[in-house]
């Protein structure tokens, strides 16, 4: 995580766009995710990109001016800085999206468990992800039941906010009651058994993957070192 961030800032900014264009997007296309990935990336980056571009562009204050808009001047250096920042954000975002869209979360968690993460963490992450939509559905059901007894939920924001208060109790209680039954169901499947566990799904770690991982580590280390060195010797 920290490594990824470090790399993002170590790499010269134009390389970010290169990475995006030559690595991330083609991989996405390979996985038939081009459309969803670009759409989500666009939605992710735009809220950052527009303000950064405007602020840096119009308020840079020095250097060459590209054009003027009334009293405001748009600076070239500002544009470059904005492009750099946006590039880094886009690259980071693109990589994360690619990861989350192509990897099944339980596989990712299993890989982490193999490397020492506790088993319960796997369960916690995966079940939370699957249960959140159910939780939402339950909240809707409860609110419907309350509306059917005269609780006004439509109208002003204040009223809608107040209508959320009676939702909390039953939602929590329902979840707690469920928890007991869930815990028992898990017990019935040996969840708390002490002893060695096996895995249905095998994660194949091919030599190619191992080499790739090594190469990536080396590349990242080199880039960061290079940046540090050039920064120190400035």
């Amino acid at each position: 995580m920290g490594l990824l961030l470090a790399v993002a800032f170590a790499v010269p900014w134009w390389a970010c766009y290169l990475t995006l264009g030559l690595l991330v997007l083609p991989l996405a296309a390979l996985g038939r995710l081009f459309g969803p990935l670009t759409r989500t990336l666009w939605k992710l980056v735009l809220p950052f990109a527009v303000p950064i571009l405007l602020i840096q562009g119009f308020f840079w204050g020095e250097g060459e001016v590209l054009f003027t808009l009334g009293p405001l001047s748009f600076y070239r250096l500002g544009l470059i800085f904005a492009a750099a920042s946006i590039g880094r954000i886009a690259m980071l975002g693109g990589c994360f999206l690619l990861l989350s869209m192509t990897t099944r979360i339980d596989m990712l968690m299993r890989a982490l468990v193999e490397r020492g993460l506790p088993n319960q963490a796997l369960y916690l992450v995966v079940t939370t992800l699957q249960l959140v939509p159910r939780f939402e559905a339950q909240a809707h059901r409860i609110q419907d039941a309350q509306r059917a007894r005269g609780l006004e939920t439509e109208g002003s924001i204040a009223r809608r906010a107040r209508a959320l208060v009676p939702l909390i109790g039953p939602l929590l209680l329902a979840s707690l009651m469920d928890v007991e039954e869930r815990a028992l169901a898990l017990e019935a499947r040996g969840f708390s058994r002490r002893g060695p566990r096996t895995s249905l799904v095998t994660l194949r770690d091919t030599p190619l993957q191992r080499w790739l991982r090594l190469a990536l580590w080396l590349l990242a280390a080199t880039l960061i070192l290079y940046r540090l060195v050039s920064w120190i010797t400035r």
Partner: protein, 278 residues
């Protein structure tokens, strides 16, 4: 398979015992139905047989409890789960949520028990076949109907090869189609010698069709024990708070009005009713 002697259990914080001086003997390879109104102790008995009492629910337990050759109070939940499987009322809550397909869901318990992978694959296929879920193997457990989810719960437990399966009102939240699927499955499993089944239920028509023997509980004590026909036709049956099928109700009314003679055994299934009213 099951030996209970003088079992009395009171939940922590309660004044009255949930089970009182209960004696019970259940042999292997049978399908037993536990009947009784709400509060009679059916769920308590199910929890006891599965080991949840006393290892999950606290309270005072007296008497001898031996299930599948294990002394329950002296055992642990982990050990009990290797021999006794439990299926609960709410099909949705039994989906672990930790797996994305039906196949892997069944594998969850096997992984926990440390079953080697080749054996796992074989057992999963077998479970899928026995419960008729083979075609749904790659689906998400959350994309199944209630009846299918209950069958999945049963399949997941079956894969662990339990000597005994305990089901606590498994069809109460299901529609008639789902109910039929579950009961037919349980009957097939017992008939094929896969496991012994104890099921707490309210739906008497199905109980009469599928169960070998019945146990009736009233306020924590045994009120009757025997074959479904004997138990349900007993003159005391009306006082037990059971939801009698329309067949037996019609028969009782017919006898009361003198339309059919007294003394014949009351019908509880469609076939029995056809014979009775011919």
């Amino acid at each position: 398979m099951i030996e209970l002697d003088g079992v009395t259990f009171t939940y922590a914080g309660e004044a009255t015992p949930a089970l009182q001086q209960l004696d019970l003997r259940i042999g292997a390879g049978e399908l037993w139905a536990v009947l009784g109104p709400t509060g009679a102790g059916k769920s308590t008995l199910c929890s006891l047989l599965a080991g949840f009492i006393p290892h999950f629910y606290r309270g005072s337990l007296r008497g001898k409890v031996r299930v599948a050759g294990i002394d329950v109070p002296g055992s642990s939940l982990g050990e009990m789960s290797e021999h006794v499987g439990s299926v609960f009322q709410n099909p949705f809550n039994q989906v672990t949520g930790a797996r994305y397909t039906v196949r892997e869901e069944i594998g969850f318990g096997l992984e926990n028990l440390g079953v080697p992978r080749p054996a796992m694959l074989e057992r999963i296929e077998r479970s899928l076949a026995l419960t008729g879920l083979s075609e749904l193997a790659e689906r998400s457990p959350y994309a199944l109907s209630g009846g299918q989810q209950q069958r999945l719960a049963i399949a997941s437990i079956l894969a662990l090869r339990p000597k005994l399966m305990i089901l606590d009102e498994p069809t109460s939240q299901l529609d008639p189609a789902g109910t039929g699927q579950v009961f037919t499955l349980l009957r097939d499993l017992v008939s094929a010698g896969e496991t012994t089944v104890v099921v707490a239920e309210q739906r008497l028509e199905w109980v009469a069709r599928a169960a070998d023997r019945c146990l009736v509980l009233q306020s924590g004590t045994k009120a009757a024990e025997g074959t479904p026909s004997d138990v349900l036709s007993s003159p005391e049956a009306e006082g037990w708070g059971l939801c009698q099928s329309r067949f037996s109700r019609a028969a009782r009314a017919a006898v009361a009005q003198g339309v059919t003679p007294l003394g014949r055994q009351l019908p509880h299934t469609l076939d029995q009713a056809v014979e009775y009213f011919r």
